[in-house]
Every structure is written in C-alpha cells, then in structure tokens.
C-alpha cells in the first residue's frame, strides 16, 4: 500500500491517513488499534469494498484497480465477524459459493467441499444442514472454509473470532495457526484484542485513531520495544507477561542445573550440591534424567545406591516461558528442569534466566 488514504464524505478528518504498508506474502499480518483507527476500512480497501480516496494498493506488483471487481474479490478470501453465511443455502452450498461463481464443474466442487470440511473440522453430515442448525463456532469454521474454497493466495479476516465465546475463540485461534502452518497464505487479520494479535500475528501493525500507522513489528519486538507512548499504552501494562507466551524455553541460555551423574561418589555429589546452590540434585545417566535426591538424603553412600524421586518441576522443550514460569512459581525450588518426553535432559530454567531472556 502506498499513500493510501480514505476520507468518508461528510466527515472532518480522514478515516485512514496516508498509509504506507507492505504486507509480506505467506505471513499473517495483524491490523490492530482502538475503534475509529480505520483498521477495518484499511482491510476493506484491499478487496475494494471501500475505494481509497487516494493512493494505490498493489498485489504482486499489480494495481488492484486493473482487475475487475468481481475477479479481484473471487481471488481473495473474506471472513467477517458476523460470519455472513447465507441462511437459505446448505453448508455445502455456502462453501461452494466461490467455486460456483468461477464456474467449476459439480464434481470438482463437491470434492473441494469435502476436502475443506475435513480441513476446518466440519463433519460431513453437517454439509447438508442449514447455517441456523450449527453453533457459532461451527458457523465460523464454515465461514473460513467458504473463504478458502477457491484456494485464494490472500485471506482477509475482519475480527473473525469476535463473536464466539472465549473457549471456542482460543480453539479457533489454534486451528487457524495450525492451518496457516500448512497453507502459508498471505493473511491480513483485523482485531482489537492485543492478546489475539500477539498470539496469531507474524507481524502486528498498530494503528491510531484516524488511520495513523504507529508501528509495524513482530509481536515480540513490539512488546519488547514499543515505538512510542501510544503503542506502549495500547499494549497494556503486562507487556513482559505477554512476551512470556511468545518464546520457548529453548530460546534461553539454559543453566546446566544442579546435576550429578548416577555413578558419582558422595563427595562428588556434595561438590555438585554446592555448585548448584540448592538443597537437591538432579540425577542423570549420561543425558538421561532419572529423578532427584534431597541434600538431606546424602549419607555417604554413592549416588547409585539412592532411590531418585519423581520430579514435578519439569517442562518439555516445547514449553513457553510462561509455562516454565508457572512451574517455577508453584514449585518449591525456583528452578524448572527441561526434560524431553523420552527422558533426555536439556538443562534448567531459573527466574533469573527468564528475566535475562526478556531483557535480551
């Protein structure tokens, strides 16, 4: 988008100030901002439901005005908060809307409908029902399937999960991320929910009232270094807490941890205890994690003679910092160990390590 602006007739200032924004292909870009910031207007200018007052929008180098309105829109998936399923058409017919407009034959269309139902998790028997017979979450899945029907490279989503309850919303968000990891579409998603923006976006564009672009950045950069007061205020007071959900424990410099090999002697174990500075030791067999022993249990016998206990303060390598923090806070030891499902030991996460990880 280059110098794109929109002024609605009868309003004083522009709804969208001259806006320059590049949306990278294959990524999910979130437009976020308070109401009146023109995020929906900006989105709707991409498929020309709103015509810009000035400026040009190009897709792959081609001005969108060079294509016919209907041809352009059929090549761009469109999902809205109110879903907008056609109540008089069955689920299958709804999903087949764009293929039908494009004149696909019946066989291809039916096969595609089945494929999409599977993709978004709609049972086949629902295909013959009408939208009013489905729950809100199911309807929004159909809305997404309908938008994807002709396999458009671009998907516009206007507050797609705004109308469903929090539990369904979080499930749909995960499903979208899962879909996106397979499809790699260019998605532009509008929301007013900063948590949603941070959870879904590869990049987040923060708009201010009047369509002023304040910052575009990856979620973690946005939270770590807001460009100005407005962005910081909009992100809220818990920026660091939000960031915790964005990085995994493996992104930290993991501490070796209070470890001792199972073949170690009592003296070696006491040295390790001192190094670790805790009142317990993790027992390893090579890189395999066996369990833990308390300092009080060291009675002169070699470690191999002690019975290691099951550790609760452990997280998987795929855990986020937020999950690790949760474990640290609820354990007695201010340390969580990173251990694979198959028992491979990776290291220890401490509060200090998390703090350093956020400071970067």
């Amino acid at each position: 988008m280059a110098g794109v602006t929109k002024t609605f007739p009868g309003s004083e200032g522009p709804a969208v100030a001259p806006l320059d924004l590049t949306i990278p292909a294959g990524e999910l870009t979130v437009l976020i901002g308070p109401s009146g910031c023109g995020k929906t207007t900006t989105l709707r200018m991409i498929n020309r439901l709103v015509e810009p007052t000035a400026g040009t929008i190009t897709i792959d180098g081609t001005d969108i005005r060079e294509r016919s309105l209907t041809e352009l829109r059929r090549g761009i998936g469109y999902v809205i908060q109110q879903i907008g399923l056609f109540p008089h058409r069955t689920i299958a017919q709804n999903i087949a809307t764009v293929p039908k407009l494009l004149g696909w034959d019946k066989r291809t269309t039916a096969a595609r409908v089945d494929e999409l139902a599977e993709l978004v998790g709609i049972e086949r028997e629902m295909l013959r029902r009408y939208p009013s017979e489905l729950s809100g979450g199911q309807q929004q899945r159909v809305g997404v399937a309908r938008a994807l029907a002709a396999d458009p490279p671009i998907l516009l989503m206007d507050e797609p999960f705004g109308a469903v309850d929090p539990i369904v919303r979080s499930r749909l968000q995960h499903e979208l991320l899962d879909l996106q990891s397979r499809m790699r579409k260019t998605i532009v998603l509008v929301t007013h929910d900063i948590d949603e923006a941070v959870a879904l976006g590869d990049r987040v564009a923060v708009l201010n009232v009047g369509g002023v672009l304040e910052q575009v950045a990856a979620p973690d950069d946005l939270l770590a270094e807001p460009a100005n007061e407005f962005v910081a205020a909009f992100l809220g007071a818990e920026r660091s807490i939000k960031r915790l959900a964005l990085s995994g424990v493996m992104s930290l410099h993991l501490d070796p941890g209070p470890v001792v090999d199972r073949r170690a002697s009592d003296a070696e174990a006491r040295q390790a205890l001192e190094r670790g500075g805790l009142d317990w030791l993790a027992v390893l067999d090579g890189d395999r994690f066996l369990g833990w022993v308390a300092a009080a249990d060291l009675d002169g016998r070699p470690i191999a003679d002690l019975q290691p206990e099951v550790l609760r303060a452990r997280v998987e390598p795929t855990a986020t910092l937020r999950e690790a923090l949760e474990v640290i806070l609820t354990s007695h030891t201010s340390t969580a160990l990173v251990v694979d499902a198959d028992g491979t030991y990776h290291g220890a996460v401490t509060l200090e390590a998390i703090r350093e990880g956020l400071a970067r």
């Binding site: 498929n47 439901l49 309105l69 209907t70 041809e71 352009l72 829109r73 059929r74 090549g75 469109y78 809205i80 109110q82 879903i83 907008g84 399923l85 056609f86 109540p87 008089h88 058409r89 809307t97 764009v98 407009l101 029902r129 009408y130 009013s132 017979e133 809305g143 309908r146 938008a147 516009l156």
Partner: protein, 259 residues
Amino acid sequence: MSDATARRRWVAWALVAAAAIGALAWAVARTRGLDEQTQATNPIFRWEYLLVRERTPEELWARTREHLELTVVPVVLGTVLSGVLAALVLRFRVLQGTVFTLAGVLYTIPSLALFGILSTYVSNWTSAVAALTTYTLLIITRNIVAGIDGVSPAALDAADGLGMGRRQRLLAVELPLATPVILTGIRVATVTTVGLVGISKVIQLGGLASYVFDGFNRDYSTLIILGSASMVLLAVVLDLALRGVERLLTPWARRAGAR
C-alpha cells in the same frame, strides 16, 4: 414476518369472517319472524338447492371460476407491477416516498367509484381487473421492499466480498431471503382481493358474491349462505395453497423453526 404484515392479514381475515357472520345473522333474524309451519318448509338453508337442483353445480362452478379469475389475475398482475415498482424504489431510493404515497392514495379510492369510472372507458371485466390490481400494489410493493431491506447486512457483505456481481447477489441472495416476506404480502393481497371481488357485482360480475346479492334481493337465505360460505372456503384454500408454496420455497426457515 413483521408486525404490520401480520396485522394486515388479520384485518383481511376479520373482514371475510365478518361478512360471513353478518349474512348468517341476517338469515337467522329473517327466520325468527316466520311461524313454525312456514319455518319447516322454509329453513335457513335448503340443502336441495345445492344437492338436487340440476343447474346448481354448473352455476356454482362458473361463479367460482369467475371469482377465482378476478382474484388470481389481479394478484398476478399486481405482483408483476409491484416487482417493477419495488425495483424502482430499491434502485432509486429517493422514489420510495413518492411510490408508497401514490400506492397508498390508490388504495384509498373507494372501489365502487373506481369500478364506475373505469367501466365507462373499458369493458366490465377489464375495469374489475384493473381496479382490483390497483388495490394489491400497496401491500405487495411494500413487502418486496421490506423483504429485501430485511436481508442481513452480514450476508450482503459476504456476498460482495466473495465476488458476487449486483445481479448475482439479487438473484442468489436477496430474493431468496426476501421470499417469506414477499409471499406474505401476496397472501394478504390474495385474501383481501377474494373479499373485494364481490363489489364488482355492480358491473355485472361479482363471482360467488352474486349469490349473496341475489339472496338479499329475493329474501332467500340459502343463496346468501351458499355465497358467503364458498367465498370463505375459497379464501382459506388460496391462503393454504400459498402457505404451501412458501414452505416449498423456504426449506431453511422450516428447519430452523423446527429446532
């Protein structure tokens, strides 16, 4: 369905029912005055008029056909004309006030006057059809416009966003979704017209209402009841038929309602 259309439908039904009850009451009052002897030979309704009299079936059928014709032709014409008017209103919104006011004014012209004026220029049948068509315009035009205005903005936004053209959107989304409201309008117009046909007796038509008028003239209650009852029956049958059409055309509404 909107409250206004529901109310109009009730008014139409009330008129038909009132006509039937009035005729019956008149017949009962007539009979009271006669002594028992006469009453035995002169009952309120002579079944033999309907069952034995040879000419009755043919005559009844002819009048029913006339009545049906004078109902269906104006309603069909009225629907087509209303479609044109509604299209104008939907395309050029500034016309809405004018079109509705005009249809409203036409609706208020007394039918007797309209029959009188028209029949001096064209044939009786044509003037009856023209007058009756006029009365359907207000109801049907308003329901078409209301039906299309009532289509959810979300469905329209989706239709546009998915790349439907203007025409495709009208045919594939707006008209189907407006169908229940439009058909309600047509049904109200139909039932109203069944009642109004009677007045065309003044220009030698009248359909089934001819029985009622003959009955009054000849003090013959059998004819009054025969005419009223058949008119009510005709109105009910047409109403049910149109409800059937609506059910066939809008399967989605039925299933949603059944939940």
